[in-house]
Structure formats: C-alpha cells, structure tokens
C-alpha cells in the first residue's frame, strides 16, 4: 500500500515539459503534480460537455488514469494539457452517447454552416444582469443555455471560451479542422447569445429606444 499521493505544495514555477519527462521516467510525484495542476479544468470540461456531476467525476478519473497508463506513449509533439483534454473530451462524448442512447454524437459529423439563417433576437440587455440575479440563478441560466447546445457546439465553446484554448489547440484536442472550430464556435456563441438575450433583455421597452 502506497501512501496517499496528495501533492506537496508546489515550489517554484510550473514546468509542464519537465514534469512530464520526470513522470515518464517513473517519478510518480511529478505525475501527481500534473494532476493537481489540471484536475479542476478537466472536471469543468467534463461537466460542461456532459452536464452531469457523476459523468464529470468519471471523466475526471478516467482521464488521469488513462493518461498515467499511456504516459510512455505520449510523444511530446503536443502539449501534455492538450493531450489530456483530448482524452477528457473523448470520455465525455462517450458518456453522452451512453446517456442519450441512440442519439449518436460525433465530432466528425458534418454540420451545416453559414447557409442556415440563425434566428435572431435583437434586443439590448438590462444593465448588469450579473447583479440582478443570484450566483446560483446565473449559474442555472448558463447551464441551461449550454445544455441546449448540440454537443459539437457545446464542446468547442467549452474549450475555446471557457478553457480559453486557442483555435489551433482546440482543433488539435478535438481532431477537427481549424475552420470547423471557427464555424462551430460562431454558431455556439450566437446560439448562447440568443438564449441569454431572451433571459436578460430589457423588458417593456422599444428595442432601439436608446439608439
């Protein structure tokens, strides 16, 4: 029985490449430091894609167990973080497939872009919606909005706008093209804007009264 591998408080700067090299050489403490550094993000990715606490926990565990298992195979062509994001996204999408049964979800599925008119709600928002609702209410509104997105869009939005990966990193993590990331992100942003506008629009006023 090994002692519990709670990481020691980190000293000095976080050097991902050096930690990965040490972990690959068998240094378990180095791997533990990587887990400690990234586990919140991986949990959040799992939560944002699956929209479910249990699934997010499974994604979290599976991601790091698989990363540990396959660490020797990690080539270092990409960043370690991008590599584990890719594992996490695959795990999360697998969970979704299981949960949604026959509603097959694939990131490779072609999606129509551009031609389809996005139905638009054009209205200015009330001031500072963040202050008018409680934190829980805001969280609930955002969760519902994200939950309504198709998984393809939700996944790209989670990586680009929540985790702040670059377009290229997102494309790499998802195994899709840069233009596909861009078009999905646009659709996701417009769809979310639409939903939040219905929630936060200034009520009882002509839309353009102030313009």
């Amino acid at each position: 029985m090994t002692p519990t591998t709670h990481p020691a408080p980190s000293t000095g700067a976080f050097d991902e490449a050096a930690l990965v090299a040490r972990a690959q050489a068998g240094d378990q403490a180095a791997f533990t430091t990587l887990v400690d550094h990234y586990h919140r993000k991986i949990y959040r990715i799992g939560k944002n894609i699956t929209q479910n606490n249990e699934d997010a926990e499974d994604v979290l565990q599976e991601t790091f167990l698989k990363a540990y298992e396959h660490l020797a195979g990690f080539q270092g062509n990409s960043k370690f973080y991008t590599w584990i994001v890719r594992i996490a996204v695959n795990e999360a999408l697998m969970k979704l497939r299981k949960r949604k049964g026959d509603r097959f979800v694939s990131l490779d599925e072609p999606i129509e872009t551009g031609e389809e008119e996005v139905k638009r709600e054009v209205a200015v928002w009330e001031d500072n919606p963040e202050q008018r609702y409680s934190r829980e209410e805001i969280q609930h509104i955002l969760n519902e909005a994200v939950d309504d997105l198709k998984p393809d869009f939700r996944t790209v939005f989670a990586l680009r706008d929540i985790e702040e990966l670059s377009t290229e990193e997102t494309a790499e993590a998802l195994g899709i093209s840069v233009p596909a990331v861009k078009s999905r992100l646009l659709r996701a942003r417009l769809a979310l804007r639409e939903k939040l506008t219905r929630q936060f629009k200034r009520k009882g006023e002509d839309v353009f009264a102030n313009l």
């Binding site: 029985m1 090994t2 519990t4 591998t5 709670h6 378990q28 791997f31 533990t32 887990v35 586990h39 919140r40 949990y43 959040r44 939560k47 926990e57 979290l60 565990q61 790091f64 167990l65 540990y68 298992e69 551009g114 008119e117 996005v118 638009r120 054009v122 209205a123 200015v124 928002w125 919606p129 963040e130 934190r135 805001i138 969280q139 955002l142 706008d161 929540i162 861009k182 992100l185 646009l186 942003r189 417009l190 979310l192 804007r193 939040l196 506008t197 936060f200 839309v207 353009f208 313009l211």
Partner: protein, 81 residues
Amino acid sequence: MLTCKQFLQELNDYLDPNIDAEMKNHLNAHVTQCPNCFVIVDTTMKTLQVFKGVEPQTIPEDVKTRLWKALDRKMAERKLD
C-alpha cells in the same frame, strides 16, 4: 458595404483582440451603420463576459478524494509490474 449575414460570418474575427486593423475598419464600417448588428456585437460580448465572470465550480471534496484514491491504486499496480 457588407450585408448583415456577411458581417455575422466574421463576428468571431471582429471580437478577436488580435484582429488586424484593416479588417477591423472593414467590419466597423458595417457595425457603425447597422443598429441590429451593433446590438448583436454588444450582447455577444456580454454573453462571453457572463460566462467568463462565473467563478469556476469547485470540485466537491469527496470527488477529489476518490480521484486521489483511484490514482493511488493505479500507481501501486504499476509499481508491482
């Protein structure tokens, strides 16, 4: 001038802080003339702000504990290999 549809295709670039000046001017020419797109830009920016402004949900302690336990087991197995 761009149509609204053309402008919205470029919305991500317009919101990208690294957009080049020429493209920005090109897109500004539409947005300063079009109240609808102005509102869409404004509310899209606000949408992103709301998402970014939410504090990350903390991981429940029991979830963390189970993660470390699972890792311990995995690492112990590997040591025995």
